[in-house]
Symmetry: C2
Subunit: 339 residues, 2 copies
Amino acid sequence: MKYKLYGPTTNKVPWQEGPDAFEGAPVWRYQENPIIGRNPVKNVARIFNSAVLPYEDGFIGVFRGEQTNGIPTIYLGRSEDGIHWDIDEDMIKFVDENGEIFMPQYAYDPRLVQVEDDYYIIWCQDFYGASIGIAKTRDFKTFVRIENPFVPFNRNAVLFPRKIQDKFMLLSRPSDSGHTPFGDIFVSESADMIYWGKHRHVMGPNDKWWQSLKIGGGATPIETSEGWLLLYHGVAGTCNGFVYSIGGAILDLENPSIVKYRCENFLMTPEEWYEERGFVPNVCFPCATVQNTQTGQMAIYYGAADSYVGLAFANTDELIDYIKEHSVVNESDTEIGRR
Amino acid sequence: MKYKLYGPTTNKVPWQEGPDAFEGAPVWRYQENPIIGRNPVKNVARIFNSAVLPYEDGFIGVFRGEQTNGIPTIYLGRSEDGIHWDIDEDMIKFVDENGEIFMPQYAYDPRLVQVEDDYYIIWCQDFYGASIGIAKTRDFKTFVRIENPFVPFNRNAVLFPRKIQDKFMLLSRPSDSGHTPFGDIFVSESADMIYWGKHRHVMGPNDKWWQSLKIGGGATPIETSEGWLLLYHGVAGTCNGFVYSIGGAILDLENPSIVKYRCENFLMTPEEWYEERGFVPNVCFPCATVQNTQTGQMAIYYGAADSYVGLAFANTDELIDYIKEHSVVNESDTEIGRR
């Protein structure tokens, strides 16, 4: 491999060979998509925007389930192959530090990240306004909520999979109380996952049409020899609504507020029926990847049209090369991001 | 006095006797208002939304000055009597921790609070979006910026004048990128003024028309035997724009996310020409008080119509009684404010 990968690995990455040549980015869809269809669980109409990790001999995941009452909440699921998922019928029961039930009023777009001995679930929830909620678990049986990292309004928080200079690092996208026609990615640090500070701007929307309205963190960043490989979402505003594409960037390893490379082209944009049709048409929303750090095979899990879970594949060497070859960065990307 | 007061005091409180009886709240205006008029300093068109403290033998203050280029920044001023102000012609020069000039692109609505040996200036500024900036000084000569406490978007941060359970406590009003047609008050804590957490909701807008759109912190809370006396701004939305009134509440001393009393009536609402006419008509925006903790005489400094500084007076015993007698609190006021 040309570029080294670090962090979580599995030799069971879901995989399907891609085309011999690419018209655009070297990312291709699973032919049997979507991997999670409508009404996947009793009383759950749609599952999408969900995150997974290699775990024990297979995979584990946290799933955004839109209940038939319309309220999103989070479900746990397991899989042997990363494609066929067994999702719990009951939502995850969160507790507070004293073990008392402490449920968010709603919870959506969960991410799942292991840092040292703990697994963290990070989601968007009501905190007198949309903001970020976090829980941790070691056994996927007890899920203890910890302090909300930010006041409202905030969405799309993504935790780095290891501490940097002894600090937890969290990407987030400050937002507003509605559908938010703006959005930049910031990074914040914490010694204890309770108090957060030293916030820095990472990058904002740019003049590339597909990411000109807002951008936000997507999958857990992957540590590589080139920097942190970040798959994120970029949004265009049209006369008929927002269009969510998948973008790629590489952040400085020691100071991830610095963008080293940022691909000017989207890596994926809605074009299949399950991405263009659904509760929110025209959404490809990446929330997780799993990869084999020895082979560079990577599977991307993304929400499609707020209705389905889709799977796509890439070879990390090819993907990193593509991002570097098509990189356009501006000053607000490359600066430290302090004002 | 019926209620004890703690914290900063002066025996030189600006003062003018009030009426024998009140039609509404026991707050009255200085008859010679505004105390700072148009074009108060070279190249500064308007000064308003400014904060002062007793200092040495008189008073010191930080002033929002709207330059003739339209950009707001912060000026230092001094006064012997708290009414007539000598404001520096040059804006405050902020530096970073290394002593290098580190100016915000703009800065407005400063507050000024002493905690232990440091004086803190807290304002709203651009941080890739409107958010909070903070600097500290001991001598009012060197102003060192410290970390921004929050990611955007946030305004109206107000620091408590002492630590509570060994933590700095900061009120703020999360907002959006525009004129923000919503807004609640939150409180956040920090051990070091760098990392902030344990955010709690204090109170939100309510069904009282004058504060039905949004509310935000105003003057530095005053410690009293009844709790923290907070003067805040409450905003109504009308067909012709927002109207900013002054409200009053009393927060629990040890846990200020709990509202003990909240006055259902405004304490002051725009009615004088300098409050109804100006760059932003219909604004009374409290940013500071000075008081004599022995007599209960209190002077309120408020911005008027984003054009002037006004002065009003109250007797704290009367004011606290009025707030208690007209208190209406709901569950979102009295709860701890964690979700």
